[in-house]
Structure formats: C-alpha cells, structure tokens
C-alpha cells in the first residue's frame, strides 16, 4: 500500500539517518565520486519534489521541466545580467516557478490523467521554443555560461563538497516538508483526492485548491534545486533546462522507488541515478543507448508487477506481517 500517510515520528529518524549516511560523502574529495553523489541527490530531490504533487494527488506532470527551466533562467539571468547573488536568485527562481505553477494550476488542474500530462508537456515545449526565440534575453539556443568566479556569495565553489552539502540541505528540506505534509491536513486531503476526487469533495475537501497548493510547493522545490544545479554545472540552455526528459526521469525515479511514499523517491534516486551513470559508462561506449533499454524495461516491469514501487511494496509486506500478528490475537 502507499504509506504516504505516516503516523510515526520514526520518519524523522529515518530521514536523519539517511542524511547522515549521505553526508559521509563529504569526506571524499574525489570529484567524480562527489559528482555521482551530487547527481544522485539532485535527482532524489527533484523526484521528491515531483512526488509532492504527483505521488500524492495522482496527477501525472511531465512538465516539471518547465518549472525547473524557468527557475534556472531566472536565477542565472539575475546573476549574469544584474549581478544578484544566486542565493537570492535561488529564492527568486523558486518563486517564479511557483507563480508559473499557479498559472498552470488555474488553467490545467481541471484536466485529468493523460490530458494534464499532455498539457504540461506542451507547456514545457512552448517555454523551450520561447527561450530559443527571445535570444536577446535568454541567449537563445546557445544557452548561458555562468562565469566561474568561486566564492560563497556566488554559490560557486572550487571543490565539490560545499555544493554537495547544499544539495544535501535541500534534500533534507524537501524530505522534512514531505514528512510534514504527510502528517498534515494537506497530505490527508491530497491522498483522498488521489483515491477518489468525488468522494474527497463530498467530505469538504476543495479538490482544486489542495492540488494547487501541492503543485506550488512541488514547483517551488523543483525550481530551487534547479537553480542550485545550474550553479553547479555553470551552464544552462533551453534544450537542457526545459526538458521533458527531466520530468520523465523524476516520474520514473519516484514510481520505481514508490510514488506517494515519503522515502520512495529517495530509494528510487539512490538506486537509479548511480545505476544510470554506471550503465552509461559500461555500456554507453559500446552499445549505444543500451542503458535506456534497461531503464525502459525496468519501468515497464515495475509498473506491471509492483505498481506501488519498492517502498510501497516493502511497507505493504511489513503491514502484512503486522496484520498477521494482530489477527492471531484478535478475532476476525
């Protein structure tokens, strides 16, 4: 089952333990190891943010790339053109992403299933086209290179540890928010909406408004982590920023890990992000695209056999064990 609604304080403990383990990476100074960790945490965070909207409410967004890209362009342009520190740019990026989410939500949230997904894909593509078209502002398809001036204020660092640390903080923030939401009224409402929106409304849950909140929170974090990633790679371009692939990956990671669970996206990210890198390194240079076949097959397999993902299946198993012991003592 989807144990999104966690009742236990132990979630905070797990969260702390995971963060502690991940932060062991800070001891390494190997940039490749750190890059893998950063990429992993980046995808964990995006997937977790995606999960807040989509795992909860069951609305499939393939347009988180739109939020990501808009935020990246906001912060990068603020930094490169007006010299505003990425620390502020990060917030600005998150907020613009949120504004876009508000607009998208008002327009598209009444759509269901494939149509919401399609509308979000279309939106991402439109933004990409505009980013290419209005090259006076965005630099067009050539993208923007962020000058390498390492300093704390510029959020650019010589070594990767500080960046990794920032990513970890963000992941922790998203996880804590997720845990908090999962215990809150919003979480309860969202899950109710996912299960049956008509019934949810009949209980007094405003379907539209709750979904909108979720979308805005989700897009905010997506935007923030996107700006951080831009400051890490030091380069953005329309094709990379407004990419449907990023959204697809977020979805893939969440779903394989267990969409609608607190730790599903984390598990998915930790499993898939390094796997992708290793597969690309091993297979990529001899069998073009072979790692994507593996990805696709895994996705199909997971959806068909364990639609609740790893976390969902594991916790269902745990529940089963608990139920057995309960049934032994109680009647019925």
């Amino acid at each position: 089952m989807r144990s999104f609604l966690s009742h236990k304080k132990s979630d905070y403990f797990i969260c702390a333990a995971v963060m502690l383990l991940l932060s062991l990476g800070l001891l390494s100074s190997n940039k490749y190891t750190l890059d893998i960790l950063i990429t992993t945490v980046y995808f964990c965070t995006i997937a977790s943010a995606w999960n807040i909207m989509c795992g909860y409410t069951g609305q499939l967004s393939l347009g988180h790339g739109a939020f990501l890209g808009l935020a990246q362009y906001t912060s990068t342009l603020l930094y490169t053109k007006m010299d505003i520190s990425p620390w502020l740019g990060m917030l600005a990026g998150g907020l613009t992403a949120m504004l876009l989410a508000l607009l998208v939500g008002v327009l598209a949230l009444r759509l269901k299933g494939p149509f919401f997904a399609l509308a979000t894909i279309a939106l991402t593509t439109i933004l990409e086209i505009f980013a290419v078209k209005f090259d006076g502002i965005t630099g067009g398809s050539v993208g923007i290179t962020i000058p390498y001036n390492p300093s704390l204020g510029n959020m650019i660092f010589k070594d990767y540890q500080p960046t990794y640390f920032l990513f970890l903080c963000l992941l922790a923030l998203v996880l804590l928010t997720t845990i908090y939401i999962s215990r809150s009224r919003l979480g309860s409402n969202l899950v109710a909406i996912r299960e049956n929106d008509l019934t949810a409304a009949s209980l007094g849950i405003n379907v539209f408004r709750n979904q909108l909140y979720a979308l805005m929170i989700s897009s905010f974090f997506t935007g923030v982590v996107g700006t951080l990633y831009a400051q890490y790679v030091l380069f953005i371009d329309p094709a990379g920023s407004f990419s449907v692939i990023v959204s697809e990956k977020a979805a893939l990671i969440s779903i394989i890990g267990g969409a609608g669970t607190v730790f599903g996206p984390l598990i998915g990210g930790i499993l898939l992000a390094p796997t992708e890198i290793f597969l690309r390194t091993w297979l990529g240079s001899t069998y073009q695209g072979a790692y994507l076949i593996v990805y696709g097959v895994v996705l199909i397999f997971v959806i068909l056999t364990i639609p609740n993902g790893i976390a969902g299946t594991v916790s269902a198993y745990i529940r089963k064990c608990n139920c057995k012991t309960e049934q032994a003592s109680g009647d019925d």
Binding site: I14, N30, K31, Y32, T39, S141, G143, Q288, S315
Partner: protein, 421 residues
Amino acid sequence: MKKLSWFLILMLASVTVLSGCSSSTPANTAKPAEVIKIGVIQPRSGPLAVSGEDSYWGTKIAIDMVNEAGGIKGKKIEAVVADVPNAGAAQNEVNRLIQNEKVKVITGIYGSAMAEVAAGICNRNEVLYWEHISVTDRLTKQGYKSVFRMHINGSLFGEQAAQIAESYAKKIGLDPTKATVAVVSENGDFGKSIAAGVDAYTKKAGTKIVLNELYDSKTTDTSPIVLKLKASNADIVIATSYINDGIDITKKSKVLDYSPKIFLGIGSGYGLAAYGKSLEKDAEGMIDLDPTSTPVLKNLDPNMAKAVEEFQKRFKAARGYDSPTVGYLAWQATWVLLNNVIATAGGTDNLAAMIKAAKELDIKVGSLPTGAGVKFDESGQNTRAVISAMQWQKGKLVTIYPDYLANAQGIMIPLPAWNKR
C-alpha cells in the same frame, strides 16, 4: 518502518561501497608512464549520436594509427572513451576522466552545450581541452588557458561563407552591393552563430540581407521556409541546416520550383552521404560549405597524404561510408594533438609544456586534409581553420573552392531552373 529504515541504510551503504569501488579501481590498475591516456568524449547516444559517432571514429582511427606507428616516444596512447549525450553527462564524465582515469588531455565533442561544460571543467582542473568540432564562439572567449579549438568558430564560419557567396556573386556578374542575400538557419547554436557571422560580414561588404529567418531543425515540413525564400526573391541563399531539414528544403525547393541564382548550404544538412543518397540526381549542383571532406591528396605533404588515405580506408571499413567532414575534423585534430602537441611536450604530464607546444604550432594553411593549417591566437582559437565549398557532382561531393583545395570545377553556377537541370 524499522525494516524500511534498515533497508534504506543497507542500500545506501552498498551505493557508497559501489561508488567507492569505482573510484578506487582505476587507481590500482593505472600503470604510470607506460601509456598516455587521453579522454575522448562524444555523444554516442541521444539525438546527436549520428555525428558524434562519426567524430568518435575519426579520433579513434588517429589514435590507432599513431599507436601502430609506435606510439609517442615508445608509449602507447590509450583512449578513455566516454559517452556524453548531454550537459549533465559532460559534467559527470569529464570529472570521471580527470579524477579517476587521471587523464591530462581531453578531446571532443560534437555539441556545444557539452563542449562548454567540458571546457570549463578541464580549465579549472588544469587539463588540456582540445576541441575539434563545436563552433560556438563563446568557447574560446571565456579566458580559458588550456582550451584550444582546432575547428573554425561560428562567426568566422559565417564570415567565410559570406565571402564565398560574394566571390560567386562576382563570378556571375552580380554587384555585391546590389545583390540580395537571404539567410535561413536552424535555430540551434550552430545556425545562429553562423547567421551572426554572415550578418556581420555582409554589413561590412554592403550586401543587403532581405531575409534572415530562423527555424526549428526538428520541423517536419519546410515548405513555409522555401516559400519565404521564394517570396524574398533573393539572389543568394545561405542556408544552415541539419540533415533532415536540409534534405527537405532541397526537396521542397524542387517541388515549389524555386531556384535562386546561388544556393549555399552549410552544415551536415548538405554534406552528409544521406543527402546525396536520398536526393540522388536532385542533389546535383548543390553546394555545401564546410571544411572539405574530399581532400586532394596530391596537394598534401606525402606523409600526410598516406596517413589520410589510410584514414579514409579505415573509416569506410568501420562505418560503411566515406568519412563526412566531422570525421576528418576529428581525425586531423587528434593527429595534430598527438603528433605535434603531446609529442613535442614529451607526454601529457606537463600542462604548461603542452600549452606552449600548442601555442608554438605554426602549420600553414593547406597542410591538413580539410585545408586548414594551425596557428592559435591568444584565446586558443585556430586562426587558420578554413572552410571550402563542396559541390555534389554525379552523386559525389567534390571540392570547388578555394582553388588550392579544389579537385573539380564548379558547375551549374548560377543554378538553372529545376526543369533545366
């Protein structure tokens, strides 16, 4: 929940171990000083993989040939190959090559986004970055110390293209200041930087640009573009395209019975084998501006000529078709890198020596198969990279301009109407 947390912890531990392993193994296997490691990055999957793969083979064949000739100072070259389909992968793989594989030289890449990311990281880590394809101007305008580009940059490309256009205009008796030019370009960085170069040059030369249109290269139907060209009634058309759109523009030109006096195609759109194959006789007379892919061997230094011949043979064996321009670009860039830079510097251990060797290079124009020479300016841009005009004649590309590279005479200039071809 407890079990879940154990599960998580276990998984994390295994990931840590895994990434630990991957970072420690190469250190054990690296045998110092026996081989010279060179990082080779190309997009070998994803949307850029076609030309990425051609470029990869260009580089690989150059390395193989150097190795078979005994390597550099007795040391074999080992290519550490990475598939880099996007900017994120560039970040990851370049770090892997530098950190784990301990390469000191990286060469690549088809795709400017990846080139920019790779060059940035290389420069920061004091690794030589040797670019052989990407044309974005900005790559060499960031003040990087260890970044060199063998290929021409976009604005020079555009400038030379406009120059070629001008010279052809003169040839057919058009006054450059009265002739009209239409520029259509795919809206990626390639098309845009070239369009900008053309624009800058024609302004100087006083030629009038009557249409400057960008389009999406993924577009399926180019008839609106051809109709716009037709409506503009320009004497000269300079079109920058990838292959799909390039083929379609030509097809639609025929369908819509459009032939300007001079049509200059730029980029893979008009130069790849697929172009000739799918257009057959309709390709006849079409001009492609690019570094030549039909070198005139007798003009080259005999040793170079032999090497180029060998390369052509191997490329055909590996890929099944004659090397396109990117193959030559990759091959000659790698060839120069190995024989003239690394060999002079005595290996890859000393970055300063390699930079010095590169900066001191003085190879005259026409020495390399694409007609280029090598002389880097302060920013690391090769100032002696040239483009040429190639033309489809009897199903094959031949070089018709400049004269010192030409192996055939230009035909069908100005272009006759379609029914007279």
